[in-house]
């Protein structure tokens, strides 16, 4: 949820685009959750391989599972927001810079960093892949596996 700054004098959070030209981001939605074996760090860990099989269909291979998916145009666009410190509050506010405990009341802004108009939705049940790839433990060791859950879709496609 969004918490508004506690500074009594200002109860507004500006929501704006600071880049001037927000790019479209990609969104991938799958049923269930990705399970990662208690690996060290997620950074740069491979999730899987995505292949576009036709204009509107995609295939996602995660571990030994294959999912069929479609490209869905969202009914309403989504904007991706990031919380940032208000630019004029960063160096001109002597109170918050001298006393770090007050920094929670530093004015913040929400900046749009991207827009999402489409998503790749994988709602089919994954089917198991029998593949010779399995015998390459070195490469596959860290691959996340897919845990199945019946779940609601984030947004109903139109």
């Amino acid at each position: 949820m969004i918490e508004v700054a506690s500074a009594a004098s200002d109860m507004q959070i500006p929501v704006k685009c600071s880049c001037g030209e927000c790019k479209e981001w990609g969104m991938v939605e799958l049923q269930g959750s990705l399970e990662i074996q208690h690996s060290t760090s997620l950074h740069n860990l491979t999730i899987g391989s995505l292949c576009r099989t036709s204009t509107s269909t995609y295939k996602l291979v995660i571990g030994y599972h294959e999912l069929e998916g479609t490209k869905v145009t969202l009914k309403k666009p989504l904007v991706i927001l990031k919380k940032v410190k208000a630019p004029d509050a960063m160096d001109t506010d002597p109170v918050s810079s001298s006393d770090p405990s007050l920094s929670t009341s530093t004015p913040v802004e929400m900046h749009v960093v991207g827009i999402i108009r489409h998503k790749l939705l994988f709602k089919s049940r994954p089917k198991a892949l029998i593949s010779k790839q399995e015998v390459k433990p070195k490469k596959q060791r860290e691959l996340p596996s897919l845990k199945l859950e019946s779940s609601r879709e984030l947004l109903d496609p139109s």
Binding site: M1, I2, V4, S6, A8, M11, Q12, P14, V15, K16, C22, K23, E24, W25, G26, M27, V28, E29, L30, Q31, G32, S33, L34, L42, H43, N44, L45, T46, I47, S49, L50, C51, R52, T53, T55, K59, K76, P77, L78, V79, I80, L81, K82, K83, M110, V112, V113, I115, I116, H118, L120, L129, S131, K139, E149, S151, R152, E153, L154, L155
Partner: protein
């Protein structure tokens, strides 16, 4: 979008966590195209202090912020963040051998849900609270106070102050200021004290009689010139004319002189309220006689004019009239109906209707609100239906 949607048919990418994965928190906000356009061009505002539920305002509309979570896995891929993982051809599974050499796409965040916007009524009750901290009264005191020092500004609010503290859009605040007949004086928006305003209108009406002015065609400059001698500022005199009258189309030959027509019903209501302030409850006949006596000649008072201002109830053989103004009632439907039924446990439609005005409930019809908050009973077809609390 990045590689994902621009991928050629049979093209493939390796999807992996980018090196900035989960280093930043992102929120997804669902907007419609018009809100998106305003967001990108002018920006929007989230408003609320810690005790409020936050709302999001465009320039015209107020939205409640609703969080919708999902149990699905939702990955966000930025067009600028690429996974630096190796993407050699062997990553492409054998059964996809028609896929071209893969590139990589980096997931920068996993989001647990999104924020939806639901249009909601502007939260304007706080506006009234702020404006009522210091209603405008005596001109002289005002000038001194403002000159003294910063403390003189306590309880005074500029448009920016109001926009900052009231959970409503700019245009909704503007409209509300107009409906409470607030006026901007020295940069501060003020509600004018009722008694002060009545006093000023009295002076204007009296002066009109003395100078034999037609109250349906008052010359602003003339009125200001005479009435300011009684200690009123031109600004507040003009505001009074605007509150009780409407501007008459300006003559092309005299563009500098505005002319005002005082509205019969507003002036009559003014006199009715004056009577009710001196005596809160009147026998109907006595009231009507006193009302007619007080009103300047040429104006015709009608009981109809007092709809939404007074309640009339029959006690025995007599009808009694008392002040009960719709403008003093809460704007939220639940609170409004509760206040109405506290005043009177059952209502006839004709009496109730004027008190349903000015409620803030977007998308809700009066019929829907009646169904929700009242019970309608009609004993027989020839008696009026009664509304009681549900």
């Amino acid at each position: 979008m990045a590689e994902l949607l621009d991928l050629n048919v049979n093209g493939s990418v390796t999807v992996g966590y980018s090196d900035s994965f989960a280093t930043e928190e992102f929120k997804l906000l669902e907007v419609d195209e018009s809100v998106l356009k305003e967001l990108l061009n002018d920006g929007l505002t989230i408003k609320g202090d810690p005790n409020d539920e936050a709302v999001l305002c465009t320039s015209s509309t107020t939205y409640a912020i609703k969080y919708v979570s999902t149990s699905n896995t939702v990955l966000l891929l930025s067009p600028t963040q690429h996974s630096t993982l190796q993407s050699d051809a062997t990553d492409c599974p054998e059964n996809e051998k028609d896929c071209t050499r893969p590139t990589s796409a980096g997931v920068v965040a996993m989001v647990p849900g999104l924020i939806e916007l639901v249009e909601t009524a502007p939260r304007l009750d706080k506006l009234k609270v702020l404006l009522n901290q210091r209603p405008y009264t005596e001109d002289l005191d005002e000038e001194q106070m403002l000159e003294e020092d910063e403390r003189g500004r306590t309880g005074l609010y500029t448009m920016d102050d109001l926009a900052n503290q009231v959970q409503a859009s700019y245009s909704q605040i503007k409209a509300a200021l107009e409906s409470v007949q607030a006026v901007e004086i020295e940069g501060f928006w003020r509600i004018v004290d009722g008694n002060f305003m009545q006093g000023l209108l009295d002076v204007i009406l009296l002066t009109a009689v003395q100078h034999d002015w037609n109250i349906k065609l008052l010359q602003e400059s003339e009125v200001v010139q005479v009435v300011r001698n009684d200690g009123y500022t031109p600004k507040i005199i003009e505001h009074c004319l605007a509150c009780y009258g409407k501007e008459v189309e300006t003559n092309v030959q005299e563009p500098d002189t505005r002319k005002w027509e005082l509205e019969e019903s507003k002036v009559c209501v003014h006199y009715a309220k004056q009577l009710l302030r001196s005596v809160p409850k009147w026998r109907l006949e006595d009231f009507l006689n006193a009302w007619k006596r007080n009103i300047p000649t040429g104006l015709q008072p009608e009981l109809e004019m007092l709809k939404g201002e007074v309640l009339i109830e029959r006690i025995g053989a007599d009808s009694w009239l008392r002040l009960f103004s719709v403008s003093s009632l809460p704007t939220k439907p639940a609170e409004r109906f509760s206040a109405l039924f506290k005043e009177n446990p059952k209502w006839e439609w004709d009496d109730l209707e004027p008190y349903l005005r000015g409620m803030q409930a977007p998308g809700q019809s009066v019929e829907a609100m009646l169904l929700r908050y009242t019970r309608k009973t009609q004993i027989s077809p020839n008696v009026p239906a009664m509304y009681t609390p549900r």
